[in-house]
Symmetry: D2
Subunit: 429 residues, 4 copies
């Protein structure tokens, strides 16, 4: 699919000059110009509702005004733009705000590390640290996990197509079944523990387990509280470090700042990126328990760890977390979304998955992509999830208002209607 029949030349520069690796431009074949809150406009003036949020980097919506004001002011005052890991005022303000607003109220005691400004870089740093701290090499990951595209992160990612892209075998990891993978009657933790304890299983004691509490790319499978707590206990009993990759699920996506808050867990290492920068600006954090801070200076580094525009926006974004109003609003909108999706499932079949403002509906293979394409034509930016793209994934900015949510859901409903009618009802599960 290259979309050129719709594009009629307007995407020619991209089609000619850019590598075939480009992908979202194929799902959303238009040229964007402007955006605000949960709305986007292309160069032809067509308006879109955004149920995509820049793949999770725009939890606070497009171009939130107060952040914008501060960014402009910072630029006008010739604030330092790029500083690696030197000290700057902007970075200091972010650190202080992060401590006051996020860590202290939650009773969390983490040291903060600034890796290169992508989720994959945060994951790479977390894996290195876990291996260094334990002196072990193997890291456990889960079926359908997604943690990034650099070799270390790819090695803990489940998607075979993406793994194959490595061009080399990916080692030092072992994949275990995520919660629910073996059906509702099998607790995969039992199996995992057997493997770890059995001296004949071939698996040496891992350095760490890395997981998402809800699999954003892997089909919106959510781990249950008991399973997560059980896993945390298992890790503690065996001296295995727990790494939560909250790159997509953190920053409020599931209703709390960290996705693991409702479960009474305290991971050893947490990866943050995407919406941490507030304004969609590249930034990433790795949080680590103080006793794990065994790094030598410069043992993991990178150039763009001091993106001060991101620090400015990120510090401001934390204002949303100064009290519980934002979290409560996400919860309400999450229920509104749940209800609408259940109604869709009732009407068209499918399975509703996820939590907070990361929910979706799993459809028969091939269907979800058609639904998203139809929705895009009607002015809704929405993508699929799952290794077989089988889930329609609803991920609006957290700041969306209930009306905007309804507006997008109405487009989704009519798009499903259209696709289903075109295919015949029998195609729906």
């Amino acid at each position: 699919m290259n979309g050129s029949q719709w594009a009629s030349g307007k995407l020619q520069v991209f089609e000619t000059m850019e590598s075939e690796v480009r992908s979202y431009i194929r799902s959303f074949p238009t040229k964007f110009r402007r955006a605000s809150g949960y709305r986007m406009w292309d160069t032809e003036g067509k308006e879109y509702v955004d149920f995509f949020s820049g793949a999770g980097a725009l939890n606070y919506g497009h171009n939130p005004p107060e952040m914008k004001r501060l960014l402009i002011q910072y630029l006008q005052e010739d604030g330092i733009s790029h500083s690696l890991d030197m000290a700057t005022e902007a970075k200091e303000r972010f650190l202080l705000r992060f401590g006051e607003t996020i860590l202290r109220p939650r009773g969390l005691d983490y040291k903060v590390m600034f890796p290169g400004p992508t989720g994959a870089n945060s994951v790479e740093s977390a894996l290195k640290l876990a291996r260094k701290a334990t002196g072990r090499q193997t890291v456990m990951s889960f079926t359908n996990a997604f943690h990034g595209m650099t070799l270390g992160a790819l090695a803990v990612t489940g998607n075979k197509f993406k793994r194959k892209g490595a061009g080399v075998p990916l080692h030092h990891t072992v994949t275990f079944p995520y919660d629910g993978y073996m059906g509702p009657s099998v607790n995969t933790l039992t199996y995992i523990e057997n493997f770890l304890e059995d001296s004949g299983s071939g698996i040496s004691l891992p350095a760490a387990v890395i997981l998402e509490t809800l699999q954003g790319e892997g089909g919106l499978q959510a781990a249950s509280g008991p399973w997560l707590r059980g896993l945390a206990n298992l890790c503690k009993r065996h001296g295995i470090l727990m790494i939560v990759d909250d790159v997509q699920m953190g920053c409020g996506r599931t209703g709390t700042f960290f996705s693991f808050e409702p479960f009474g867990m305290e991971p050893d290492i947490v990866c943050l990126s995407k919406s941490i920068g507030g304004y969609g600006l590249p930034m990433a954090l790795t949080l680590l328990k103080p006793e794990l801070d065994l790094w030598e200076p410069g043992e993991h580094n990178g150039t763009f760890r001091g993106n001060n525009l991101a620090f400015v926006a990120a510090a401001e974004a934390l204002s949303y977390w100064e009290n519980d109003r934002f979290a409560k609003a996400i919860a309400r909108k999450g229920e509104q979304l749940r209800s609408a999706l259940l109604s869709l499932a009732d009407r068209f079949g499918g399975e509703v998955r996820g939590r907070g403002l990361m929910q979706g509906i799993a459809l028969e293979p091939g269907l979800a992509e058609k639904v998203c394409a139809a929705a895009f034509e009607r002015g809704l930016v929405i993508e699929t999830s799952g290794t077989d793209s089988e889930v329609v994934k609803v991920m609006p900015p957290l700041v969306i208002d209930p009306e905007g949510l309804d507006e997008g859901l109405a487009i989704l409903r009519s798009s499903m209607q259209q696709v289903v009618e075109a295919m015949g009802a029998a195609a729906i599960r």
Copy 2:
């Protein structure tokens, strides 16, 4: 942690909250606020000359006014901030300008790939592509090379301390001696070719070779033109792809936009990052010959590939390359720098290395760090290079004027004088 005697509490937030992995803050223990061109100011108003350029990300200086103007305007107009690999006006403008200003005049026919916005991500994508295109796994790299800190990039990096940080063995690579590594009388290419052609050498045919034409982190060793051309021929004869990592040496650092231009080479893949974003904003490119564009859509991806603020600044930065004035000015300032460094070597000993505005002076072990620390106290931001930090590395913004260059060099000279006097002349090579 050193430097605390100067810091007197002003860096307390960083020392308390940030991981021990932080490093530049230890060499430059102050809190920066503002910067312009080749000058920086800390929160106490102290002024610094910048011979560091954000580790090469600020070739066009701090906050260049025209880029700043365009960034503010883009923010004010609610331009799309973050777009992954969707089409935007800002990205289109960058692509067009890159084609017109850089590729076409040099007769280069590359497809453009946007990896995650760091040099390491570009290197990871280049390695993946080379392995995919050839169906082979081994990549050749060189002694003292530096290509990044994620597992794939680390595997082609020579520094043992950084490699050890991986926590796992690094495979699928083979290290060969860089030009000059075996002394002036041995052409390392002969040895490399023997190894490749001998059916008993244990090395299977590599997918690619990756190299810097001048080793920025590895001690400013510069490969000669004949060696580079010989390596290119060797690659052609054996069907090995050539990847030039121009992350630090590109964007004019050595005098031409690409560091390899003077040598009549045309690498199969080129990695760019650091100064490509113009304003120190995170961005990276991977350039590839059209026949290598075998990617499947999404086979390598990442969230922050659509940093539109970077696209806005990057497009404007290319104005410097519309004619040959900028290149000529770099050449003149490079000669000015060479002459000053040779005079230093004449006075204090040491070996002058590098080319363009990436030059330095190699000193006895332990000395270069002292010189840089003394210079910082006198208001010069400058770092070392080399796996044993044995080189004082002069890397000012390319836009520095001759007076600024002289100002910084005078500080460097007096700093060396001070260190040498403190140690006694015998310590100098």
Copy 3:
């Protein structure tokens, strides 16, 4: 080192000169001189019943007279002793006999490969061939599998202690749960198939699966017929090669020449060693389907592939398989053994496992080793199985007569009685 209280100096040469790696000498601390059939004598004239069979290499008993006669004759006539893979009369006779007596009557069409004369070498050759034939790298193996101690074979072995001995990570393999591993209610095949078919499981399509139909070292777990057939079908559907390691279970140990005969399977590759040489002489075979015979000459080799004394004995040993009398006798003695073990379990607790003349009784941790030590004192050579040595493993020569079997079993019974009485009944499961 234990057992020295019995040894009283007679093992001094071994204790002084031999490496600590020696092991069976610790379980059977005497110096053997002579053996015949199922009886052994040490240098002090003490007689032992053999329920160990040289770890499976002596299925035809010690020094069977007709083989002995032929070996002496071959030596007297200056027959070629060592011939690598040159043609010799002795090797030709073996090949012809193996075709006539084993392959043809079973309708099996295999090419015969002679690897180095150990089971591990056969396994290494099988893995190489499977990878070459499929162009894939991953090999599936099972929990508690044992396939050998060289790096390739060790990588498909489950025992963590033995794996750790590698000193390097073991790659290109994935361990799956053997039949029964997840309890009686979970069919592990379902789980395996999920993993193979799910595009998000992280496991690329394997080249092959390697398995024992009954795990000789791994605790005498026997796979069921339906599970084995299901696995064979799964392999066929996915184009995965099936390698049966019959090194210990072949040559009649479970009642048929190949252990897989009762299940209607036809593996792609079969590994044989141990008793294939007839007289305990080093020899190994790798059988492969003709369409897999993609080897280049010499692509896998080794010096001792032409042990002609072994060929002489091996050819003669096949006489046992010229009709079904031998198989029927094994079956009868297998039932006799089953019945005796069930009676022991009834009396002392424990779980009876295995089939044919490879059966045992699983006891509480720590007990089996005590039982075997007590039995040795009473004149029975018998060892444990299982990664925690939890199984008493009864593996007499297949030629043992019912009286000999009873004699050994009586010693076993009284040894269990003694151990149990010493420990108190509560220690028994």
Copy 4:
């Protein structure tokens, strides 16, 4: 080449039933029956002089009478044939004789380990032990080295064709240039030491180096004494263990029992196999310094470590080393051989290599195989060496008499003459 034009059906069983992997049968296409000393006979009564010695396993010639007598007697007395690592009288006698005759007179203090009965198994055990003892993973090996075909041994072997057969990447090793590899003017030790000491070379400190003092399969390159001693010193300075693979070069092949004796070295680990069994019977030893004997019982094992027929012959074979007559005779015959080969080189071109009774002549590519084929037709069994089979390798039994040596050399001379005449003198270097 399959030789069937000469074989006229007599090798049909092998061609039909045996895998394509067979190789020596293609070079020596006849069916052997009988052998004695340095002579062999095929089933048609044709006599051959043996310059091949079973690839080095028959240093004491075929069927030496005293060993034969003892083997027959052992069989007649029902001596234990197969005993794993239990104690037997035959094994004890071997150990005592090895201590008295070999270790003590040379002042060598080694513990003796019995790995599986092949050279590859000994190498695998040596690599495991070196990694365990140092806690490091990388092992250094050399260009054109050959150490065996199992995955661990293959990883330190240089031959690309054989490495490719692994079907998986071979890791944890690094190949360095052997003595002479970079031409006579470059001391490869300097290069190796640079790599080890340079913190930017990408190579972490190795566990061990493994080497042959003369490369038997790799083209008869001999390392010089100064180079070997320099390597030993380098290892000592860096805490790297030295493993000498004396599988082919040991047992007197180069004139002394161990090949390294003339150089005043004392390797940490020594691998022996091939002729150690005396009569061509499968056997292998790994010798290790007592302080390295860190094995847990059974940490490396295998079934055929107790081949008592081999122990009987091996103990007797050591009689050759009770005084210095045997060594002196080898030296004399080595000179006789050298002189003859130099005369051949003088007449036909080529380079004479090797020492003791392991010498050869390197010819133009393609020539050596033709010479060996012509020699075989004339009744001389002789093979090539070198990854491109470029060397005619003369390796007679050490017990050959001067007349036998002359007889074989005369056949070699006339074979070269024939080949050269057929090709024209220009083909000779």
